[in-house]
């Protein structure tokens, strides 16, 4: 069994918590997220015959009044930088957070273009192209349509175990 901590960062409302909710088997549904700025879930996966437990730190959205604590990023083995496909301006915060995450740990990074159900393919392609230089991979997801979510987590899990 290998246990890996991964983090999700991004602007408020980009759908980080929805991504986690889609991915994990069960959750303890108490709202402490807004109090300390993080909530923790987990899911087990099998990658190439290896049991991997992903411990997922869903970190609150950063805006002008609330910044992501670097201590929450410490020790992570991989990171999602999430944007909202219908709000291209969330790429700017994603870029800032990506820099902060890399300063804490040089780990595999996946950029997620979320809420693809709200835009057309051309807009998804445009956002993906803008994010491409920022991450090891760019993946498009929709929690509403349940597309791409498992693939994104599995890609990052695989990247964390090298």
């Amino acid at each position: 069994m290998i246990r890996k901590k991964i983090c999700l960062v991004g602007a408020p409302g980009v759908g980080k918590t929805s991504l986690v909710r889609r991915f994990v088997e069960r959750r303890f549904e108490a709202d402490y997220h807004s109090t300390i700025g993080v909530r923790i879930d987990r899911r087990g996966l099998e990658i190439d015959g290896q049991d991997v437990s992903l411990i997922i730190w869903d970190i609150h959205g950063e805006d002008e009044s609330l910044s992501v604590r670097s201590s929450y990023l410490a020790g992570m083995a991989g990171c999602f930088v999430v944007i909202d496909a219908s709000r291209p301006e969330t790429i700017e915060i994603a870029t800032t957070l990506r820099e902060r995450a890399l300063a804490v740990a040089a780990v595999p990074m996946v950029a997620v273009v979320n809420k693809t159900d709200l835009v057309d393919e051309a807009e998804v392609a445009l956002s993906s192209a803008r994010l491409a230089p920022l991450a090891d991979n760019v993946m498009a997801t929709s929690c509403l349509e349940d597309t791409g979510v498992d693939d994104a987590f599995e890609f990052l899990a695989r990247a964390t175990i090298g």
Partner: protein, 271 residues
């Protein structure tokens, strides 16, 4: 005649002359070395032997003391963690002996240990966990470990530097989570009732032993937790030695609720 005398001289003094010739050669060689100045390689080879030879008396101490002191100070200034990690297994027992000499401990009743976690410091990943009854599955253990670490970070960062020397305990009502930090891992015990003073000491000892036995595993930690599982019986022994059954079992829900209450109350105090 002269040849005979030479032969006699050779027979009587031959060995001595050879020895004298060798000594002269060594003296010449030493003189040449002195003229050429000291050689670093030769001195380096001799130095350990010289220090070892003089280690039984104190004659070297005055000369070495300032250098050793300056080196230690410089090391601490550069990275205090190096020295702290090195002395951690030694300094803990020494401090406890001093405290034990000052206080006498009496038994305490109605104390129960429900869970003991050892959590990797950087990643918050649980390395080994003991529970008195099967309350938490592996997933819950991972989430609780993460929450504990997040709460500690939150509280420590919310106070100004110097105001709080690390969060040690979380307490709500009768339930206490005792936390003892180490250089690479943290030990946390979920308990009910009044902990005997020696229990905290035993937690510290267990954590020191854990660091000692898993030093190389911890240094190269990559998420694999199997190497740490042989330590689980030691945590069980810790519980058996101190836990007095109180009847009420801890539930997963109660543990989560406890942590959330700690978060909310803590935030209210801080903000």
């Amino acid at each position: 005649m002269s040849d005979e005398l030479d032969e006699l001289r050779e027979l009587l003094l031959g060995a001595d002359r050879l020895a004298i010739a060798r000594l002269e050669a060594r003296i010449d060689a030493l003189e040449q070395r002195l003229e050429a100045g000291p050689r670093v390689d030769e001195l380096a080879a001799l130095l350990p032997k010289v220090i070892e030879k003089r280690s039984t008396d104190a004659s070297l101490d005055p000369g070495l003391q300032p250098t050793v002191e300056r080196t230690l100070l410089r090391s601490v200034e550069d990275d205090p963690k190096v020295i702290a990690d090195a002395i951690y297994p030694v300094i803990g027992p020494a401090i406890r002996r001093s405290i034990a000499a000052m206080f006498s401990f009496g038994p305490s009743g109605g104390f129960q240990v429900d869970h003991i976690f050892i959590i990797e410091g950087a990643t918050s990943v649980p390395l080994v966990h003991y529970q008195r009854s099967e309350d938490l599955d592996e997933g819950a253990v991972e989430m609780v470990s993460g929450m504990l670490s997040a709460i500690r970070s939150f509280v420590e960062e919310s106070f100004e530097a110097g105001q709080l020397d690390g969060l040690q305990d979380l307490r709500v009502g009768d339930v206490t989570v005792l936390v003892e930090p180490g250089p690479k891992a943290v030990i946390a015990a979920v308990t009910a009732g009044v902990p005997p003073t020696r229990f905290r000491e035993q937690l510290q000892i267990a954590l020191e032993e854990f660091h000692r036995e898993h030093e190389s595993d911890l240094r190269g930690f990559d998420g694999a937790v199997e190497p740490y599982q042989p330590f689980e019986p030691r945590l069980a022994e810790l519980e058996r030695r101190h836990g007095l059954a109180r009847g009420n079992r801890f539930s997963v829900l109660l543990l989560f609720v406890l942590l959330i209450i700690v978060v909310v109350v803590g935030a209210a105090i801080i903000l």
